[in-house]
């Protein structure tokens, strides 16, 4: 019996819960660590970025309006779905250059990271909010609220790094447009397939592949984006992107040099929160 023909996978963008090709029709070849051809990935244009922002804005009221408990369940569900595709991710990470052992460790760490952030969803308000003392017959509360649409330039660690920047953005109710790692985008798109099958509403996470230097300035300058995470921006571009982000006073998180394998901490979550303070008279 002849060998079965291989079924090649087409890697596309993830926008508004669907997997479209780039509006521009462009793609670029992705190679493994030894330079051998792996697949063609979509090469997103600025119009794809614009569409992604529209999708993220549309998804924002629904996602931020869910209870923290419900968001936690969905993040936990993502961890479950990722665990179920463990072998596939190990294969893709090995093609991107990781050893078998390191790839397994990274997938496990990524699953654990989702679980860790899922646990934070309903604790954020208690930890970062406050009941403030005031000299009058009032209560005064500060509560954290999501910032809005967050554009993320993902780091080149295509799975653990991506999860480490993505989870803290969406756990608090933000929606996001992510530019995936440029040299190794394939595990990121496969992660989008995990997100698409995890009860995460379409549009909460939008994932673009292509050239960071081409798309990131459009997102940084976009007036309907509220915050910018520069985790994976090249050092020589950070200044330019920060300048553009000043147009509508975006919150900007500069590259922090994180070790993605290390303990995450809460800084990335709190970077994309707004604090709302309200007064209540006592006894009413």
């Amino acid at each position: 019996m002849p060998d079965r023909l291989s079924v090649r996978k087409t890697y596309k963008l993830y926008i508004g819960g669907a997997f479209p090709r780039s509006e521009s029709g462009r793609s670029y070849p992705v190679t493994d660590s030894k330079g051998r051809f792996l697949a063609n990935a979509s090469h997103a244009s600025r119009k794809d970025a614009r569409d992604a922002v529209v999708a993220a804005r549309k998804a924002f009221p629904g996602w931020s309006g869910r209870t923290a408990y419900n968001r936690a369940q969905i993040l936990y569900r993502i961890a479950e779905m990722l665990e179920g595709r463990r072998d596939q991710f190990i294969d893709e990470l090995r093609q991107a250059g990781a050893s078998k052992g390191a790839a397994g460790t990274e997938v496990d760490a990524a699953v654990d990271r989702w679980v860790w952030y899922a646990g934070w969803a309903d604790k954020l308000a208690a930890v970062t909010g406050a009941a403030n003392p005031v000299s009058g017959p009032f209560f005064n509360f500060s509560t954290p609220e999501p910032t809005g649409v967050v554009a993320v330039v993902a780091p080149d660690s295509p799975l653990l790094g991506l999860v480490s920047v993505l989870a803290p953005v969406i756990v608090s109710g933000n929606t996001t447009v992510v530019i995936a790692s440029e040299p190794a985008p394939l595990p990121s798109i496969t992660l989008a397939e995990v997100l698409a099958t995890s009860d995460l509403p379409g549009g909460v996470v939008n994932l673009l592949t292509g050239h960071r230097t081409e798309i990131a300035p459009w997102l940084a300058a976009h007036m309907d984006v509220n915050a910018l995470d520069l985790a994976g921006a090249l050092p020589e571009h950070v200044r330019e992107l920060e300048d553009k982000a000043a147009g509508n006073l975006k919150r900007v998180l500069r590259p922090t040099g994180d070790d993605w394998a290390g303990e995450p901490g809460t800084a990335r979550m709190t970077a994309f929160l707004e604090t709302k303070t309200v007064w209540h008279p006592v006894g009413v």
């Binding site: 614009r50 804005r57 459009w218 300058a221 976009h222 007036m223 309907d224 984006v225 553009k244 147009g247």
Partner: protein, 309 residues
């Protein structure tokens, strides 16, 4: 009915059924082909300004208030208050009881006031009521009347009744322009759209309009293409130019530009002015303004920077 009217009705029916049929596949293909055209840079900037000047800014909700109408009028006269180079829209379209409010708010701006009438959107009312509705709107100062045809009569083949109604409403309009809404979403076939267009034009319509916006599907490119062919052919046959207004379902700049391409390629550049082509919509205006600002500043804008309506 006298013999003369009977003869007139028979002639009208024979004429409408003698119109050539519409090739459904062909018209859809042609519309899709024209919609694929790419309009960029300076041509796009001109198209956006032209589209803004053709918009009939519309609010037709049961919940309309005088305040909302005034807000809409302010937006019609100055779509983008921060940029004086943005053209004003063609008209504001409201229910008859809001005409007075709109006329007062728009006096001196050059923006027209259009009013729907004749028991919009269903058209199910006695003739006297429809005429009274029309006269009230004209008396309140409306410069344009958007009437609906009796789709029931049209679909049951009573073309003479539809013709009579349009003629009577046209009389009641006096100096105001008459736009006749065909409600193509209820006419079922392109052949019917072509017949209804000719019927309305023969009865004296100044504009033919696709839809009320209350029925889905509203305006589509193929339907508008059929209507544009009708006005082109009617001018060739009768020597009178009639305008076209697609309404409903036009939400993005891309949509609006597709319609402009369609007008230019079908009826011709004579129709590419607010006097002969209108876009009935309200949400499209914000998208046009956002695209305009993108062209001006080089940065994508967002809905936060334009008024809600």
């Amino acid at each position: 009915m006298s013999t003369e009217t009977l003869n007139g009705a028979a002639e009208l029916r024979a004429f409408l059924h003698g119109l050539p049929g519409v090739d459904r596949v062909g018209v859809e293909e042609r519309a899709a082909r024209l919609a694929g055209r790419s309009v960029k840079a300076s041509a796009k900037a001109e198209a956006i300004d032209l589209a803004i000047s053709m918009v009939d800014l519309t609010t037709l909700e049961g919940a309309d208030t005088a305040g909302k109408v005034r807000a809409l009028c302010a937006k019609a006269a100055h779509p983008d208050p921060s940029d004086a180079s943005v053209p004003k829209v063609a008209a504001v379209c409201v229910y008859p009881d809001m005409v007075e409010v709109a006329v007062r708010a728009l006096s001196g701006t050059g923006v027209g006031v259009a009013s729907v009438a004749t028991a919009f959107p269903s058209g199910r009312a006695p003739m006297e009521v429809k005429l009274a509705d029309t006269r009230a709107a004209v008396a309140a100062g409306a410069s344009e009347i958007d009437m609906v045809i009796d789709r029931g009569a049209f679909l049951s083949g009573d073309y003479a009744k539809v013709h009579e109604e349009i003629t009577a409403v046209k009389d009641a309009c006096g100096p105001a322009h008459l736009k006749v809404i065909l409600e193509t979403g209820e006419l079922a076939t392109y052949d019917n759209v072509r017949r209804a267009s000719w019927l309305a034009m023969r009865a004296g319509a100044d504009f033919i309009k696709t839809s009320t916006g209350k029925v889905s599907p509203a305006a589509t490119l193929p339907v508008t293409l059929v209507m544009l062919e009708a006005v082109r052919d009617y001018r060739a046959a009768a020597g009178r130019q009639v305008g076209v207004k697609p309404a409903g379902g036009i939400r993005t700049t891309k949509d609006a530009i597709k319609y402009l391409v369609l007008v230019n390629e079908t009826a011709g550049p004579d129709w590419l002015t607010p006097d002969w082509f209108r876009l009935g919509a309200s949400s499209v205006l914000n998208d046009l303004l956002m695209q305009r600002r993108k062209l001006a500043t080089g940065v994508y804008s967002g809905p936060d920077y334009f008024t809600l309506d």
